[in-house]
Protein backbone atom coordinates (compact mmCIF):
# COMPACT_ATOMS: atom_id res chain seq x y z
CA UNK A 1 0.00 0.00 0.00
CA UNK A 2 1.33 3.42 -0.85
CA UNK A 3 1.79 5.92 1.96
CA UNK A 4 -0.10 9.17 1.40
CA UNK A 5 1.72 12.50 1.63
CA UNK A 6 -0.89 13.80 4.05
CA UNK A 7 -1.77 12.03 7.29
CA UNK A 8 -4.76 13.48 9.22
CA UNK A 9 -3.15 12.59 12.55
CA UNK A 10 -0.18 14.87 11.71
CA UNK A 11 -2.37 17.85 12.55
CA UNK A 12 -2.12 16.89 16.24
CA UNK A 13 1.67 17.17 15.92
CA UNK A 14 1.60 20.73 14.56
CA UNK A 15 2.87 22.10 17.88
CA UNK A 16 6.02 20.02 17.53
CA UNK A 17 7.44 22.42 14.93
CA UNK A 18 8.68 24.46 17.90
CA UNK A 19 11.04 21.63 18.84
CA UNK A 20 13.41 22.41 15.97
CA UNK A 21 13.13 26.17 16.17
CA UNK A 22 11.72 27.11 19.52
CA UNK A 23 11.75 30.91 19.39
CA UNK A 24 10.30 31.24 15.90
CA UNK A 25 7.78 28.47 16.54
CA UNK A 26 6.57 30.07 19.76
CA UNK A 27 6.35 33.48 18.13
CA UNK A 28 4.27 31.99 15.34
CA UNK A 29 1.84 30.25 17.73
CA UNK A 30 1.54 33.37 19.92
CA UNK A 31 0.73 35.40 16.83
CA UNK A 32 -1.65 32.74 15.52
CA UNK A 33 -3.53 32.57 18.80
CA UNK A 34 -3.80 36.33 19.00
CA UNK A 35 -5.13 36.62 15.46
CA UNK A 36 -8.08 34.38 16.24
CA UNK A 37 -9.14 36.15 19.42
CA UNK A 38 -12.26 38.32 19.40
CA UNK A 39 -11.32 41.75 18.07
CA UNK A 40 -12.90 44.14 15.58
CA UNK A 41 -14.09 40.89 14.00
CA UNK A 42 -15.81 38.20 16.04
CA UNK A 43 -14.12 34.82 16.51
CA UNK A 44 -17.02 33.42 14.47
CA UNK A 45 -16.31 35.71 11.50
CA UNK A 46 -12.61 34.86 11.68
CA UNK A 47 -13.40 31.16 11.68
CA UNK A 48 -15.40 31.53 8.44
CA UNK A 49 -12.60 33.53 6.80
CA UNK A 50 -10.12 30.85 7.87
CA UNK A 51 -12.34 28.15 6.38
CA UNK A 52 -12.58 29.95 3.04
CA UNK A 53 -8.81 30.53 2.91
CA UNK A 54 -8.20 26.91 3.96
CA UNK A 55 -10.01 25.89 0.79
CA UNK A 56 -8.33 28.33 -1.57
CA UNK A 57 -4.98 27.21 -0.11
CA UNK A 58 -6.22 23.63 -0.40
CA UNK A 59 -4.74 22.76 2.98
CA UNK A 60 -6.37 19.52 4.22
CA UNK A 61 -5.23 20.11 7.80
CA UNK A 62 -6.74 23.59 7.83
CA UNK A 63 -9.98 22.31 6.29
CA UNK A 64 -10.31 19.67 9.04
CA UNK A 65 -9.40 22.19 11.73
CA UNK A 66 -11.73 24.99 10.65
CA UNK A 67 -14.67 22.73 9.84
CA UNK A 68 -14.48 21.46 13.41
CA UNK A 69 -13.89 24.97 14.73
CA UNK A 70 -16.98 26.17 12.86
CA UNK A 71 -19.13 23.40 14.36
CA UNK A 72 -17.84 24.29 17.81
CA UNK A 73 -18.88 27.88 17.23
CA UNK A 74 -22.37 26.86 16.09
CA UNK A 75 -21.73 27.82 12.48
CA UNK A 76 -24.16 26.03 10.18
CA UNK A 77 -23.16 23.96 7.16
CA UNK A 78 -24.97 26.43 4.89
CA UNK A 79 -22.81 29.26 6.26
CA UNK A 80 -19.66 27.17 5.78
CA UNK A 81 -20.54 26.36 2.17
CA UNK A 82 -21.28 30.00 1.40
CA UNK A 83 -17.90 30.99 2.85
CA UNK A 84 -16.20 28.45 0.55
CA UNK A 85 -18.07 29.94 -2.42
CA UNK A 86 -16.64 33.34 -1.49
CA UNK A 87 -13.15 31.83 -1.67
CA UNK A 88 -14.00 30.06 -4.94
CA UNK A 89 -15.42 33.27 -6.45
CA UNK A 90 -12.25 35.18 -5.66
CA UNK A 91 -10.14 32.34 -7.08
CA UNK A 92 -12.11 32.22 -10.34
CA UNK A 93 -12.36 36.00 -10.46
CA UNK A 94 -8.60 36.20 -10.07
CA UNK A 95 -8.22 33.86 -13.04
CA UNK A 96 -10.75 35.63 -15.22
CA UNK A 97 -9.59 39.18 -14.49
CA UNK A 98 -6.32 38.16 -16.19
CA UNK A 99 -8.44 37.75 -19.30
CA UNK A 100 -8.14 41.53 -19.64
CA UNK A 101 -4.37 41.11 -19.90
CA UNK A 102 -4.92 38.56 -22.64
CA UNK A 103 -7.30 40.93 -24.42
CA UNK A 104 -4.82 43.81 -24.11
CA UNK A 105 -2.08 41.65 -25.62
CA UNK A 106 -4.29 40.44 -28.48
CA UNK A 107 -5.36 44.02 -29.22
CA UNK A 108 -1.74 45.14 -29.24
CA UNK A 109 -0.48 42.35 -31.45
CA UNK A 110 -3.34 42.07 -33.96
CA UNK A 111 -3.61 44.44 -36.87
Amino acid sequence: MSKPYYDASDLRKFGKITEWSEELGNKFFDYYGKVFEEGALTAREKSLIALAVAHTEQCPYCIDAYTKDGLQKGITKEEMMEAIHVGAAIKSGATLVHGVQMMNKVNKLEM
Binding site: T42, Q72, K73, T76
Partner: protein, 351 residues
Protein backbone atom coordinates in the same frame (compact mmCIF):
# COMPACT_ATOMS: atom_id res chain seq x y z
CA UNK B 1 -32.61 7.97 14.51
CA UNK B 2 -33.16 5.35 17.20
CA UNK B 3 -36.50 5.28 19.00
CA UNK B 4 -35.42 2.91 21.76
CA UNK B 5 -32.80 3.08 24.49
CA UNK B 6 -29.56 1.11 24.20
CA UNK B 7 -30.89 -1.04 27.01
CA UNK B 8 -34.06 -1.93 25.09
CA UNK B 9 -31.97 -2.65 22.01
CA UNK B 10 -29.71 -4.98 24.06
CA UNK B 11 -26.74 -2.97 22.85
CA UNK B 12 -23.63 -4.06 24.76
CA UNK B 13 -22.76 -0.40 25.53
CA UNK B 14 -25.80 -0.48 27.86
CA UNK B 15 -23.60 -2.65 30.08
CA UNK B 16 -21.72 -0.25 32.36
CA UNK B 17 -18.79 -2.66 32.78
CA UNK B 18 -18.38 -2.68 28.99
CA UNK B 19 -18.22 1.15 29.04
CA UNK B 20 -15.63 1.08 31.82
CA UNK B 21 -13.54 -1.42 29.84
CA UNK B 22 -13.60 0.83 26.76
CA UNK B 23 -12.62 3.88 28.83
CA UNK B 24 -9.82 2.05 30.63
CA UNK B 25 -8.29 0.20 27.68
CA UNK B 26 -7.28 1.10 24.14
CA UNK B 27 -5.38 4.37 23.82
CA UNK B 28 -5.25 4.78 27.61
CA UNK B 29 -3.91 1.29 28.34
CA UNK B 30 -1.08 1.51 25.80
CA UNK B 31 0.07 4.86 27.18
CA UNK B 32 -0.70 6.91 24.05
CA UNK B 33 -2.88 9.10 26.24
CA UNK B 34 -2.40 9.69 30.00
CA UNK B 35 -5.12 8.45 32.34
CA UNK B 36 -7.15 11.09 34.18
CA UNK B 37 -5.57 10.03 37.48
CA UNK B 38 -2.10 10.61 36.02
CA UNK B 39 -3.11 14.10 34.89
CA UNK B 40 -4.46 14.94 38.34
CA UNK B 41 -1.23 13.73 39.93
CA UNK B 42 0.82 16.08 37.73
CA UNK B 43 -0.80 19.05 39.48
CA UNK B 44 -1.15 17.43 42.93
CA UNK B 45 -4.91 17.25 42.61
CA UNK B 46 -5.15 13.51 43.22
CA UNK B 47 -7.19 12.17 44.92
CA UNK B 48 -10.01 14.51 44.05
CA UNK B 49 -11.84 15.56 47.23
CA UNK B 50 -15.20 17.23 47.83
CA UNK B 51 -15.47 20.86 48.92
CA UNK B 52 -18.53 22.36 50.59
CA UNK B 53 -21.73 20.61 49.49
CA UNK B 54 -23.90 23.04 47.55
CA UNK B 55 -26.08 20.98 45.24
CA UNK B 56 -28.21 17.93 45.79
CA UNK B 57 -29.00 16.55 42.34
CA UNK B 58 -31.82 14.06 42.32
CA UNK B 59 -32.60 11.90 39.34
CA UNK B 60 -36.34 11.23 39.40
CA UNK B 61 -36.13 8.49 36.77
CA UNK B 62 -34.80 7.48 33.40
CA UNK B 63 -38.18 7.65 31.63
CA UNK B 64 -38.30 10.33 28.94
CA UNK B 65 -40.51 11.27 26.01
CA UNK B 66 -37.40 11.75 23.84
CA UNK B 67 -34.55 9.46 22.75
CA UNK B 68 -31.70 11.92 22.13
CA UNK B 69 -28.67 10.66 20.23
CA UNK B 70 -26.19 11.92 22.81
CA UNK B 71 -28.08 11.07 26.03
CA UNK B 72 -25.70 10.01 28.81
CA UNK B 73 -28.65 8.58 30.76
CA UNK B 74 -29.82 6.32 27.92
CA UNK B 75 -33.26 7.69 28.73
CA UNK B 76 -36.38 7.04 26.71
CA UNK B 77 -40.04 6.02 26.81
CA UNK B 78 -39.04 2.41 27.38
CA UNK B 79 -37.09 3.13 30.59
CA UNK B 80 -39.29 2.22 33.54
CA UNK B 81 -36.88 3.12 36.36
CA UNK B 82 -38.56 5.95 38.25
CA UNK B 83 -38.28 7.12 41.85
CA UNK B 84 -40.96 5.82 44.22
CA UNK B 85 -42.76 8.04 46.74
CA UNK B 86 -40.94 6.18 49.55
CA UNK B 87 -37.52 7.14 48.14
CA UNK B 88 -38.80 10.70 47.59
CA UNK B 89 -39.73 10.81 51.26
CA UNK B 90 -36.19 9.73 52.17
CA UNK B 91 -34.87 12.53 49.93
CA UNK B 92 -37.17 15.04 51.65
CA UNK B 93 -35.80 13.99 55.04
CA UNK B 94 -32.32 14.78 53.71
CA UNK B 95 -33.40 18.06 52.08
CA UNK B 96 -34.61 19.27 55.47
CA UNK B 97 -31.21 18.85 57.09
CA UNK B 98 -28.67 19.25 54.28
CA UNK B 99 -26.20 22.13 53.99
CA UNK B 100 -26.85 22.19 50.24
CA UNK B 101 -28.69 25.32 49.07
CA UNK B 102 -29.65 24.04 45.61
CA UNK B 103 -31.94 21.18 44.71
CA UNK B 104 -31.45 20.05 41.13
CA UNK B 105 -34.09 17.71 39.68
CA UNK B 106 -33.19 15.76 36.61
CA UNK B 107 -34.06 12.58 34.69
CA UNK B 108 -35.07 11.42 32.04
CA UNK B 109 -37.91 13.87 32.00
CA UNK B 110 -38.41 14.48 35.73
CA UNK B 111 -41.94 15.75 35.06
CA UNK B 112 -42.96 12.25 33.92
CA UNK B 113 -42.61 10.88 37.42
CA UNK B 114 -46.25 10.66 38.64
CA UNK B 115 -45.25 12.13 42.00
CA UNK B 116 -43.16 14.96 40.54
CA UNK B 117 -45.53 17.77 41.56
CA UNK B 118 -46.03 16.42 45.06
CA UNK B 119 -42.27 16.19 45.47
CA UNK B 120 -41.71 19.75 44.21
CA UNK B 121 -44.38 21.07 46.59
CA UNK B 122 -42.91 19.24 49.58
CA UNK B 123 -39.34 20.22 48.73
CA UNK B 124 -40.48 23.80 48.27
CA UNK B 125 -41.94 23.77 51.80
CA UNK B 126 -38.60 22.45 53.07
CA UNK B 127 -37.09 25.82 52.21
CA UNK B 128 -34.67 25.16 49.36
CA UNK B 129 -33.52 28.57 48.06
CA UNK B 130 -32.51 27.56 44.55
CA UNK B 131 -34.71 24.99 42.92
CA UNK B 132 -33.71 23.69 39.49
CA UNK B 133 -35.76 21.49 37.17
CA UNK B 134 -33.97 20.21 34.08
CA UNK B 135 -36.77 20.19 31.55
CA UNK B 136 -36.43 18.95 28.00
CA UNK B 137 -39.09 21.54 26.95
CA UNK B 138 -41.05 19.19 24.68
CA UNK B 139 -42.62 17.55 27.72
CA UNK B 140 -44.59 20.76 28.23
CA UNK B 141 -46.26 20.14 24.85
CA UNK B 142 -46.30 16.32 25.01
CA UNK B 143 -49.69 15.88 26.65
CA UNK B 144 -52.49 18.05 28.00
CA UNK B 145 -51.63 17.08 31.55
CA UNK B 146 -48.32 18.90 31.19
CA UNK B 147 -49.64 22.10 29.55
CA UNK B 148 -49.79 23.96 32.88
CA UNK B 149 -46.18 23.17 33.83
CA UNK B 150 -45.01 26.77 33.17
CA UNK B 151 -47.58 28.02 35.72
CA UNK B 152 -46.60 25.27 38.15
CA UNK B 153 -42.90 26.14 37.82
CA UNK B 154 -43.75 29.80 38.38
CA UNK B 155 -45.79 29.06 41.49
CA UNK B 156 -42.79 27.38 43.13
CA UNK B 157 -40.22 29.77 41.69
CA UNK B 158 -38.48 26.88 39.97
CA UNK B 159 -35.33 27.73 38.02
CA UNK B 160 -35.92 26.07 34.63
CA UNK B 161 -32.88 24.74 32.79
CA UNK B 162 -33.69 23.45 29.32
CA UNK B 163 -31.80 21.70 26.56
CA UNK B 164 -31.51 23.38 23.19
CA UNK B 165 -28.69 22.15 20.94
CA UNK B 166 -29.04 24.80 18.25
CA UNK B 167 -31.14 27.71 17.10
CA UNK B 168 -31.87 25.98 13.81
CA UNK B 169 -34.47 23.27 13.25
CA UNK B 170 -32.17 20.91 11.34
CA UNK B 171 -29.44 20.63 13.94
CA UNK B 172 -31.88 20.35 16.83
CA UNK B 173 -34.06 17.65 15.29
CA UNK B 174 -31.04 15.62 14.19
CA UNK B 175 -29.85 15.33 17.79
CA UNK B 176 -33.16 15.20 19.63
CA UNK B 177 -35.72 13.81 17.15
CA UNK B 178 -38.14 15.05 14.50
CA UNK B 179 -40.41 17.86 15.62
CA UNK B 180 -38.42 18.61 18.78
CA UNK B 181 -37.37 22.05 17.57
CA UNK B 182 -40.90 23.33 16.92
CA UNK B 183 -42.20 21.97 20.23
CA UNK B 184 -39.23 23.42 22.11
CA UNK B 185 -39.82 26.84 20.56
CA UNK B 186 -43.50 26.72 21.54
CA UNK B 187 -42.57 25.66 25.10
CA UNK B 188 -40.04 28.49 25.41
CA UNK B 189 -42.65 30.99 24.23
CA UNK B 190 -45.05 29.68 26.86
CA UNK B 191 -42.41 30.00 29.57
CA UNK B 192 -41.76 33.57 28.39
CA UNK B 193 -45.50 34.28 28.49
CA UNK B 194 -45.68 33.56 32.24
CA UNK B 195 -42.60 35.71 32.84
CA UNK B 196 -39.71 33.26 32.55
CA UNK B 197 -36.44 34.38 30.97
CA UNK B 198 -37.31 38.06 30.72
CA UNK B 199 -34.65 40.62 31.49
CA UNK B 200 -34.79 41.48 35.19
CA UNK B 201 -37.26 38.66 35.91
CA UNK B 202 -36.51 36.47 38.92
CA UNK B 203 -38.10 33.55 37.08
CA UNK B 204 -34.89 32.08 35.78
CA UNK B 205 -34.78 30.34 32.41
CA UNK B 206 -31.41 29.05 31.23
CA UNK B 207 -30.62 26.95 28.20
CA UNK B 208 -28.19 24.07 27.90
CA UNK B 209 -26.21 23.62 24.72
CA UNK B 210 -24.63 20.25 23.92
CA UNK B 211 -22.63 19.95 20.70
CA UNK B 212 -24.49 17.87 18.12
CA UNK B 213 -21.52 15.70 17.20
CA UNK B 214 -17.95 14.69 17.94
CA UNK B 215 -16.63 18.14 18.78
CA UNK B 216 -16.27 20.26 21.91
CA UNK B 217 -18.45 23.27 22.67
CA UNK B 218 -17.12 26.64 21.60
CA UNK B 219 -16.86 29.69 23.81
CA UNK B 220 -19.94 29.84 26.08
CA UNK B 221 -20.32 33.62 25.85
CA UNK B 222 -20.05 33.66 22.07
CA UNK B 223 -22.62 30.88 21.76
CA UNK B 224 -24.95 32.64 24.21
CA UNK B 225 -24.75 35.81 22.13
CA UNK B 226 -25.57 33.90 18.91
CA UNK B 227 -28.42 31.94 20.54
CA UNK B 228 -29.93 35.10 22.01
CA UNK B 229 -29.78 36.98 18.75
CA UNK B 230 -31.26 34.16 16.66
CA UNK B 231 -34.01 33.15 19.09
CA UNK B 232 -35.04 36.78 19.60
CA UNK B 233 -35.06 37.67 15.91
CA UNK B 234 -36.74 34.50 14.68
CA UNK B 235 -39.13 33.67 17.53
CA UNK B 236 -39.14 36.61 19.98
CA UNK B 237 -37.77 34.29 22.69
CA UNK B 238 -35.86 35.55 25.73
CA UNK B 239 -33.74 33.55 28.14
CA UNK B 240 -31.12 34.35 30.75
CA UNK B 241 -27.97 32.29 30.27
CA UNK B 242 -26.66 29.56 28.03
CA UNK B 243 -24.68 26.72 29.62
CA UNK B 244 -22.28 25.10 27.16
CA UNK B 245 -21.87 21.49 28.26
CA UNK B 246 -19.37 19.01 26.85
CA UNK B 247 -20.70 15.59 25.87
CA UNK B 248 -19.06 12.95 28.04
CA UNK B 249 -17.93 9.75 26.35
CA UNK B 250 -20.41 7.44 28.05
CA UNK B 251 -23.65 5.66 27.18
CA UNK B 252 -25.32 6.74 23.91
CA UNK B 253 -22.68 9.34 23.09
CA UNK B 254 -19.97 6.70 23.55
CA UNK B 255 -21.93 4.36 21.28
CA UNK B 256 -22.12 7.14 18.67
CA UNK B 257 -18.39 7.93 18.96
CA UNK B 258 -17.45 4.30 18.40
CA UNK B 259 -19.95 3.68 15.58
CA UNK B 260 -18.84 6.84 13.75
CA UNK B 261 -15.12 6.04 14.31
CA UNK B 262 -14.64 9.29 16.21
CA UNK B 263 -13.83 7.82 19.63
CA UNK B 264 -10.03 8.15 19.55
CA UNK B 265 -10.00 11.64 18.02
CA UNK B 266 -12.59 12.79 20.54
CA UNK B 267 -10.58 11.46 23.48
CA UNK B 268 -7.44 13.12 22.09
CA UNK B 269 -9.36 16.40 21.81
CA UNK B 270 -10.56 16.09 25.42
CA UNK B 271 -7.08 15.28 26.75
CA UNK B 272 -5.47 18.05 24.67
CA UNK B 273 -7.97 20.54 26.08
CA UNK B 274 -7.36 19.40 29.68
CA UNK B 275 -7.35 22.46 31.91
CA UNK B 276 -6.04 21.99 35.48
CA UNK B 277 -7.83 25.22 36.49
CA UNK B 278 -11.17 23.59 35.64
CA UNK B 279 -10.46 20.70 38.03
CA UNK B 280 -10.85 22.94 41.08
CA UNK B 281 -14.51 23.58 40.29
CA UNK B 282 -15.78 20.38 38.70
CA UNK B 283 -19.30 19.68 39.89
CA UNK B 284 -18.48 16.47 41.74
CA UNK B 285 -16.66 18.68 44.27
CA UNK B 286 -19.88 20.43 45.34
CA UNK B 287 -22.64 18.00 44.33
CA UNK B 288 -24.14 14.72 45.46
CA UNK B 289 -26.12 12.82 42.86
CA UNK B 290 -29.01 10.59 43.95
CA UNK B 291 -30.38 7.92 41.64
CA UNK B 292 -34.06 6.97 41.18
CA UNK B 293 -33.52 4.09 43.60
CA UNK B 294 -31.74 6.19 46.22
CA UNK B 295 -28.08 5.31 45.66
CA UNK B 296 -25.51 8.08 46.01
CA UNK B 297 -22.93 9.09 43.42
CA UNK B 298 -20.30 11.79 42.89
CA UNK B 299 -22.14 12.98 39.78
CA UNK B 300 -24.86 12.03 37.29
CA UNK B 301 -22.21 10.54 34.97
CA UNK B 302 -20.82 8.25 37.67
CA UNK B 303 -24.43 7.30 38.37
CA UNK B 304 -24.84 6.15 34.76
CA UNK B 305 -21.60 4.16 35.02
CA UNK B 306 -22.83 2.61 38.29
CA UNK B 307 -19.86 4.00 40.24
CA UNK B 308 -21.33 4.55 43.72
CA UNK B 309 -19.64 6.92 46.16
CA UNK B 310 -16.53 5.61 47.89
CA UNK B 311 -18.03 6.00 51.35
CA UNK B 312 -19.59 3.90 54.07
CA UNK B 313 -22.75 5.83 53.26
CA UNK B 314 -23.94 4.71 49.87
CA UNK B 315 -27.72 5.12 50.07
CA UNK B 316 -30.05 8.02 50.83
CA UNK B 317 -31.60 5.93 53.63
CA UNK B 318 -28.27 6.05 55.49
CA UNK B 319 -27.44 9.66 54.57
CA UNK B 320 -24.80 11.29 56.73
CA UNK B 321 -23.32 14.43 55.23
CA UNK B 322 -20.26 14.53 57.45
CA UNK B 323 -19.27 10.98 56.56
CA UNK B 324 -20.05 11.53 52.89
CA UNK B 325 -17.97 14.67 52.64
CA UNK B 326 -14.96 12.73 53.86
CA UNK B 327 -14.53 10.68 50.71
CA UNK B 328 -12.39 10.44 47.60
CA UNK B 329 -14.23 11.15 44.36
CA UNK B 330 -14.26 8.27 41.91
CA UNK B 331 -12.68 9.19 38.61
CA UNK B 332 -12.00 7.61 35.24
CA UNK B 333 -11.25 8.77 31.72
CA UNK B 334 -14.80 10.13 31.17
CA UNK B 335 -13.87 12.86 33.68
CA UNK B 336 -11.79 14.53 30.95
CA UNK B 337 -15.17 15.73 29.64
CA UNK B 338 -15.59 18.04 32.65
CA UNK B 339 -12.06 19.48 32.54
CA UNK B 340 -11.69 20.30 28.85
CA UNK B 341 -11.19 23.93 27.91
CA UNK B 342 -13.27 26.17 30.13
CA UNK B 343 -14.57 23.05 31.89
CA UNK B 344 -18.09 21.69 31.94
CA UNK B 345 -20.76 21.10 34.54
CA UNK B 346 -24.53 21.09 34.83
CA UNK B 347 -24.15 24.85 35.41
CA UNK B 348 -22.00 25.36 32.30
CA UNK B 349 -18.32 26.28 32.26
CA UNK B 350 -16.32 26.26 35.49
CA UNK B 351 -12.97 27.90 34.68
Amino acid sequence: MATKSLKARNNDIANTQRQMDILSNGIFADGELPTFAKKLKETNQFPLRPKKLEILQINLGYMCNQVCEHCHVDAGPDRKEIMTIETMQQCLDVIKKTEAHTLDLTGGAPEMNPNFRWFVEEASKAGITDFIVRSNLTIIRANKKYYDLPEFFKKHNVHVVSSMPHWTRGKTDKQRGDGVFDKSIKALQELNAVGYGKEGSNLKLDLVYNPSGAFLPGDQMGLERDFKKALKEDFNIDFHHLFAITNLPISRFLDYLIASENYEDYMVALVDAYNPAAVANVMCTNTISVSWDGWLYDCDFNQMLNLKVASKVKHIADYNEELLQNRNIIINQHCYGCTAGAGSSCQGTVA
